[in-house]
């Protein structure tokens, strides 16, 4: 049976809006690792919490 191939421009395939994805954390995520990766391109690994 042939399947229907929908147009990729259909509203069904539009990206989630910012409002739909809005959450408290915004640009940061839950773990320290990703915070370093996303918010600090040059993390100071000597001050990672274990070497205070």
């Amino acid at each position: 049976m042939k399947k229907r191939m929908e147009r990729i421009g259909d509203p069904l395939f539009k990206p989630l809006t910012t409002a739909q994805q809005k959450r408290v954390h915004g640009s940061v995520t839950q773990t320290a690792v990703t915070i370093f990766e996303t918010n600090n391109p040059a993390p100071d690994y000597q001050r990672d919490g274990d070497n205070e």
């Binding site: 191939m5 989630l16 839950q30």
Partner: protein
Amino acid sequence: MTSEPVFALFACCVPVKGARRSVVCDLQRQSLHFIPNGLYEILTEHSGKTAAEIKEIYDHEFDAEIDEYFEFLLRHELGFWCDDPALFPMIDLTWEAPERITNAILDVDERSDHDFAKILGELDDLGCKALEVRCFHRSSLAELRTILEAARRGRLRSIDLLAGYAPELTPEALAALAADHQRLSSIVIHSAPESRQLPPDRRGVAVTYRTEAVDSPRCCGKIHPGYFAIDLETFAEGQKHNTCLNRKLSIDARGEIKNCPSLAKSFGNARHDSLHSALAQRDFAALWSINKDQIAVCKDCEFRYVCTDCRAYLVDPGDLYSKPSKCTYDPYTAEWRQPAEERTSAGAQREGGSR
């Protein structure tokens, strides 16, 4: 090897089929791209075929659509044309973690009598790397400092702090707290007089004030796109494990050791039982392996490997394999039903969800 190029997705871009539509999860850029199920079919069943071969399979009825599909994939940098796709194997989605417990929730209210040093020490022994502390009551700065001081040493990588508003919890005081306790990843103050989000500090720690009251574990369990974790670790873990409860340990406000504070089953009390002994009980890990492919409705949802799930609040409380009751998404129509609270207040709300 073929003479015509074939399309290959980047290894970090993984398609997931849903009932009405599919997604490509870009696990490196942490983003989702919706695609038609027809394109999912092309990327999976017809993987390794040239564009001409694919068009032939569909009797040239959808040539324009297929061209659009490949343009879309290239535009969003989800894949590339290559001569030998065998040189680009799929990413390994095996999930392993050396820690016996990877994440924990510690609930606190005005009647709590926790021995924070004991709890944090035992969590550290278990290898716990992420902790969410949820203070349901009006919290003093001194109390927050007492909790955080118990976590100063050890292997915790991240602490998410939720606390009830008190006038002394000013942005300046919380910024000082975050500077003094560098494991803090986020601070959310609930029951505040007004909602506001302060810009992240140098380390990326966000301080947020919310007017909503988070006064019990019942505020947890919401399913919302804002909570999706589109990363390799969650995606791989979600293949065979529960994305909320796997390797999680919770201590409720009364000290009861549980999988989740919202679940009834207790495995002991942290005042007189060790977390190790609770973990050693045979049933403790029973919920860890309930994955989304086993859950009704969720198994047909395109978000199933990036969703945080909830096993405490279910559509059918008698069926551990039923859909989370606080999920408003219908994968069969691809529509979100807007919850009543969001119809009256703009924006999504984080109310004590973990992970």
